[in-house]
């Protein structure tokens, strides 16, 4: 084989690779759009008036996840199944975002942390690599960390809306989450940087709880005003 033949063959391989990436990019764009729609929908919970119809918002969001599932389904067909990590960078970000959104919905519904398996199910993908298109553990954890920041905000806004009990529950949740993350030996990568931000969320929520308890508002919360749950 002559040198030029070899390079022609290589060029063919590279072009095929680029075509695949182009296809993936298109689907990922659509996914990002859906993710934005869900986010906009869920942002409503921060508004005072939004607290009442959280269950309705969650239900709507869950409907949107149907679209996500079909889009992810089409993403799976765009590349050879055994080369997930070759193109991982393309959907990494949007997948983290979707994990966050799913985790947020689950938290609003049940105030628990969504498991990796449950997220994978909501998104219509696998939790285990051997099963096919899966959710990478780092992406899952990254999405969960985004949830922590969102909850810090929610704690603040709950107080504004007159709900004094929710911040206390959020505080318990975040503390457990923080202890969980402390177990992990993270490398100096993006996940580690995200994790470094968690303590600010913890701090923010602690401040809210402190403000409530110094005024005795936390007692009131357990008494009457209460949340919608």
């Amino acid at each position: 084989m002559s040198v030029s033949d070899m390079f022609i063959a290589l060029q063919g391989v590279l072009t095929a690779d680029q075509d695949i990436r182009e296809e993936i990019r298109k689907v990922v764009q659509a996914l990002e759009q859906t993710a934005r729609e869900i986010l906009t929908l869920l942002q409503g919970v921060h508004q005072g008036a939004g607290f009442q119809d959280i269950p309705k918002k969650c239900q709507k969001a869950r409907e949107h996840f149907g679209t996500v599932r079909t889009q992810l389904e089409s993403l799976k067909t765009k590349f050879p199944a055994d080369q997930y990590y070759r193109f991982h960078e393309h959907w990494r970000f949007v997948l983290q975002r979707l994990v966050f959104l799913a985790a947020f919905v689950v938290f609003l519904e049940s105030e628990t942390l969504v498991t990796r398996e449950a997220v994978a199910e909501i998104l219509g993908i696998e939790a285990d690599r051997e099963q096919g298109f899966h959710l990478d553990i780092e992406d899952y954890l990254s999405g969960v960390l985004t949830l922590a920041s969102e909850l810090a905000r929610l704690a603040v806004n709950s107080v504004t809306a007159g709900d004094y009990s929710r911040p206390l529950r959020i505080s318990t949740f975040i503390n457990e989450l923080d202890s969980g993350f402390r177990l992990l030996n993270l490398k100096n990568d993006s996940l580690r940087k995200r994790y470094d931000g968690l303590k600010y969320d913890v701090k923010k929520i602690e401040e809210v709880v402190y403000d409530l308890s110094i005024r005795g508002l936390n007692k009131e919360a357990t008494g009457g005003v209460g949340g919608e749950k």
Partner: protein
């Protein structure tokens, strides 16, 4: 990068001596056997396993790089040594050692998605491509193909004890043959590096009074350069980046050929070495800078 890491570490420390009493109190509230904590314990295990594997591969990759570099240095002595056959044999032995390392990499990757750990092993593979293609060029004066390289990277279980020592996990599903594929991009980057070695070979061969090799090399380098321009920017960023260095190497070789042609007619053969020894120094200095 390091700056960011530094600030991360700093923030962490600052955080740790933040509200200590309060922290401890809360920690006791957390039930260590809750569902959340249990799942995080399994995450810890999973992440540690993954990081450990990554680190082992980085280490192997480094070993591969070092051994490949040594092989290249050895092959550079080929031009000056009268016993060329011996050097080629020695390089073959060294490359076999490198291939044994690559076999370990392949064993680590059994049942894994190779691209997940690609960043760890890519530098080593590129260096290996460089060494093996350099040896191939010296032997056959032509470019080794990706297929040829990959053919040498199919391993079989011939030496049993070695395989049992390696890879403690994944014992059960060990296949009888397994292979590691050099990706096209790794191959291209290795070949791009090869051109730098060929440039050195060209200059030193003039020093040895070998007049034909430079012309042969410039011909060969031009073919490779044409190939790379054909690929242009279809490839990833790294490939286009190497194009510049490749162009420089080619220019050096072409200039050497020019000098040989012009001055060669007037300078007696045994003095050509002096003309080029000053040139080589210049080139080496530039190389050191880049």
């Amino acid at each position: 990068m390091s700056g960011k890491e530094g600030s991360g570490g700093f923030r962490k420390r600052k955080h740790d001596n933040f509200p200590h009493g309060q922290r401890k109190e809360e920690k006791e509230n957390v039930n260590p056997s809750s569902a959340l904590m249990t799942s995080f314990k399994s995450f810890q295990l999973e992440l540690d396993t993954r990081h450990d594997k990554y680190e082992r591969l980085v280490k192997l990759s480094r070993d591969i790089t070092i051994e490949s570099k040594r092989t290249i240095f050895l092959l550079h002595r080929f031009t000056s040594a009268p016993n060329g056959e011996e050097i080629l044999n020695e390089s073959e032995v060294k490359l076999d050692a490198v291939r044994r390392k690559i076999k370990q990499v392949a064993q680590e990757l059994i049942g894994e998605d190779m691209y997940q750990f690609h960043r760890a092993i890519s530098p080593g593979l590129q260096e290996y491509v460089e060494a093996v293609s350099f040896q191939y060029f010296i032997k056959t004066r032509s470019l080794i193909s990706v297929e040829e390289i990959n053919k040498q990277l199919i391993f079989t279980v011939e030496n049993r004890e070695e395989t049992t020592n390696m890879t403690s996990n994944s014992h059960d599903k060990q296949p009888h043959t397994w292979s590691l594929k050099v990706t096209p991009v790794d191959y291209l980057l290795g070949v791009a590096d090869l051109t730098g070695e060929l440039m050195r070979l060209c200059i030193s061969s003039v020093g040895n009074g070998d007049i034909d090799t430079p012309f042969e090399l410039s011909q060969f380098l031009r073919q490779i350069y044409d190939g790379f321009t054909f690929i242009g920017n279809t490839g990833p960023y790294e490939v286009s980046k190497k194009l510049y260095t490749l162009k420089q190497s080619l220019a050096k070789v072409e200039n050497a050929c020019y000098t040989l042609k012009v001055r060669g007619s007037e300078i007696p053969k045994h003095m050509l070495a002096d003309v080029f020894s000053t040139k080589t120094e210049l080139i080496d200095q530039e190389e050191g800078l880049s």
